[in-house]
Symmetry: C3
Subunit: 139 residues, 3 copies
């Protein structure tokens, strides 16, 4: 069985955002899957996905601060500057994080660890709505 859906996440401010609650309810059909996989893909190059700790908001703040220092906006040697100071840094952060996440489905539920949540990593100051493709396959 293959289930595939495209969803649109509302615009978010720059930073790391917990979106598990928008992903899993979008594919209620996973309840029928005993064993399988879910792939979540982001159709952008200046926002990305990751998994991380889903309880403490400080984790999201620390991630944002860390990645902003690791890949500063407007590095002096950047040549790709036309789309603003936060664009090339956003491309690099996206490649350091993930464009797609693949997670197991077991007995109709995402089989994540207790503290694992899905994060949208918005790297632009005004990134707008973000499109995801969710593909589930299993039996």
């Amino acid at each position: 069985m293959v289930i595939q859906k495209e969803i649109v996440l509302r615009p978010r401010p720059r930073g790391f955002h917990l979106i598990s609650g928008e992903i899993f309810p979008a594919v209620p059909e996973i309840k029928k899957i005993k064993a399988g996989i879910m792939n979540i893909f982001i159709k952008h190059t200046s926002a990305s996905l990751t998994i991380n700790e889903n309880v403490s908001p400080e984790v999201r703040t620390d991630m944002e601060n860390y990645f902003d220092k690791l890949v500063p906006d407007a590095l002096p040697y950047f040549e790709h500057t036309l789309e603003g100071p936060d664009d090339m840094s956003a491309h690099i952060k996206s490649s350091l994080l993930d464009f797609s996440l693949t997670i197991p489905i077991t007995n109709g539920e995402p089989n994540l660890g207790t503290w694992q949540g899905i994060f949208l990593c918005e790297h632009r100051n005004y990134g707008g709505a973000r499109k995801l493709v969710i593909t589930v396959y299993g039996e």
Copy 2:
């Protein structure tokens, strides 16, 4: 055909550890698969997975030293400090590396390059046992 198993890796010290020999024997059913995919997922946010060179132990040492410098423990601006100095750094390293690996299966064997091995990246000083979910699908 979908095969799914959960395995538990024994506790390891902080560092990068070659675990190919614990992954593949756990799913002997892959011998029946002519073409497919294996997904290996770690159910934690302070340990991660990657693929790298499987012969030289120096590669694992250099990786550990590099990532420890890239993401130092207890950075002064971290707000998520309750679980100790190696916790927030572990979360960040996990997002820089991988929570899940997807590798091809061909003619009943993992179709990796000659020098590729699966690494457990243990980012905590005392991380404990680590749970993985292995999902294989193919025909």
Copy 3:
């Protein structure tokens, strides 16, 4: 349906290279797939894959410059030095980027964002030809 092919990319200079045009034509069978997934796996530990902006060549240059500074060749503490100054740095960059990409297939086409392309990240000065395994599954 599972489709699996191994392809060989011609040797490229160190840097980031757009290879979408070599990936998708290699699996024309995806035209038959209404909904599914494509996994692209690189069988090496000193070259990697990522997705990024597919129009501006400056993005590829900026990525190369950024990653060369993030992971300098021949760091003084590296112990794995036998294969040259660009070898250990190549291993680390590969783990920071991706060994495999999983992208959705929808209505017979890769369902990427408008500006998304597949990059080969060649981290060695003389890396030689690079082998990829492409696996597609769907219905």
